[in-house]
């Protein structure tokens, strides 16, 4: 199934990826192949099959509502910039 270069660019923009012309062509090929595969699956009769959202068939484990002491400043050690207790980012408007 063909996928246009504009579609690739749109998805790339949503994912904040910058693609060169060669990469766009490559993505068109790869994504097209994935969509071809999905198209094949579409041909199957799955009327009686419960939709699957995960490879494991278990239910998600749950935890009790108990507080665990947070690690503190260490958790933020990799923040690119900080100002006191706050994480600093380039200014943006809401």
């Amino acid at each position: 199934m063909a996928i246009g270069s504009e579609q690739v660019l749109h998805i790339a923009a949503l994912a904040r990826l910058e693609l060169g012309a060669a990469e766009i062509a490559e993505m068109q090929r790869d994504l097209g192949a994935i969509l071809d595969y999905v198209e094949q699956l579409r041909g199957l009769d799955v009327a009686d099959v419960e939709p699957m959202t995960h490879a494991a068939t278990l239910a998600t484990p749950l935890r009790d509502d108990a507080v665990v002491t947070p690690p503190g400043a260490a958790a933020l050690a990799n923040a690119p910039a900080r100002a006191g207790d706050l994480v600093a980012v380039p200014r943006f408007l809401e």
Binding site: L58, T60, V89, E94
Partner: protein, 483 residues
Amino acid sequence: MNDHRGFESVIGLEVHAQLLTRSKIFCGCPTAFGATPNSHVCPVCLGHPGALPVLNRAAVEHAVRFGLAIGCRINQRSVFARKNYFYPDLPKGYQISQFDRPLCEHGQLVVDVDGQPRPIGIIRVHLEEDAGKNLHQGSDPSRSYVDYNRAGVPLAEIVSAPDLRSPAEAVAYLRELRAILIYLESCDGNMQEGSFRCDANVSVRPVGQSALGTRTELKNINSFKFVAQALEHEIERQIDVLADGGQVEQETRLWDEEAHRTRPMRGKEESHDYRYFPDPDLLPLVVDDGWLERLRRERPLLPADRRARLQGELGLPAPDVAMLVEDKALGDYFEAALSRCPGNPRAVANWVVNDVQALVKNAVGGAAACPVAPDALGALIGLVDAGVVASAGARQVFFELAAGRASDPAVAARALGVELVDDSAALAAAVDQVIASSGAEVDKYRAGKKQVIGYLVGQVLRRLGGKVDPKQVNELLRRRLDA
């Protein structure tokens, strides 16, 4: 507003309610408000590589209880999905939410505006995590700042159908929703601190048209007053646009409190293309029969139950009912006071919605923190009913109790000297004296101006230092004057 220059408004609301858990939805970080910025964060809520979320059982229970309270179908198997977008307050680059298989669907809530109850559909209630908090005022004007303490706090997103037809209905819907969450002890309902937030989708269409008009989304409305104002302004604006032959643009607008109008969000709006997909870090959430049955059985008192009791069973006036239902703490106080003085619900309600309410209006904890115990108020009203103190004296006793100078109303009444004297001779003498010395008023009364009786009662009370029951004085005066 239902018929406005030939247009009607169509409103749907999205509410985000912070659930009252101790720890976050997918990690053990505390949820307490007001902590040092970024002190309640860990690798999970900051989205460090390799950290895995584990769902908090209490968050699920809050959402299911709420779903049951509004008659939702509970999907015993629901799925968490990633909502992908980039924003500085979202550490992982996606929000864990629910998409095509939410926890609760197809609920309903009845709103009553001017005695016209209308069912409002609730499309879905799902669980998700909150984002961090952005701050734009700091030392460096080229920067914004982020506090991630809120990132990962559990939210229930509650989406109504576009069934609301006026700002008044929208506010009534929000009040009822908030009251239910508070009754369930699932959310503190604090709009200023952002634990109960509202976005509104609003459009207008010519009356009689069934197709919906183009809608705008209003954000940033953090009080009931602003919800009403923002919707009113936005509806007027859209009608102006259409009446001028223009078209409403689909956009997100912010309510500007200071300018008192809505304005488009600055900058290019994020594309609403979130590329949801099931979160591979989380297996489906299964609420089994036993769990669901237990939550069904544990159903606590809800606003509608209290409304039915106060209105139907006790026959209280509508404004009192509304106040005692919406403010759960005040309603609890009322019930506690009434249990001490069961014979006179109207008097108890009157005291609670006026005097108690005035006393605790700005107090943290509301009526639950009232310095006058409900039991003491019940006892005090009992003293009035028994004719031991008059209502003016009772008010003095109430303030004595409120100030913490006494705890037993009977003792306080005695100490203040406001107990009514049961001395009919003194009363008769005072009545005779007042009649003798108030010739002009007595003539007016006898000529048909019956309202001067109030003045005469006041004179008698003054002579007796207020220590008699005004009702008794009134009766005696009338008997003498009408003879």
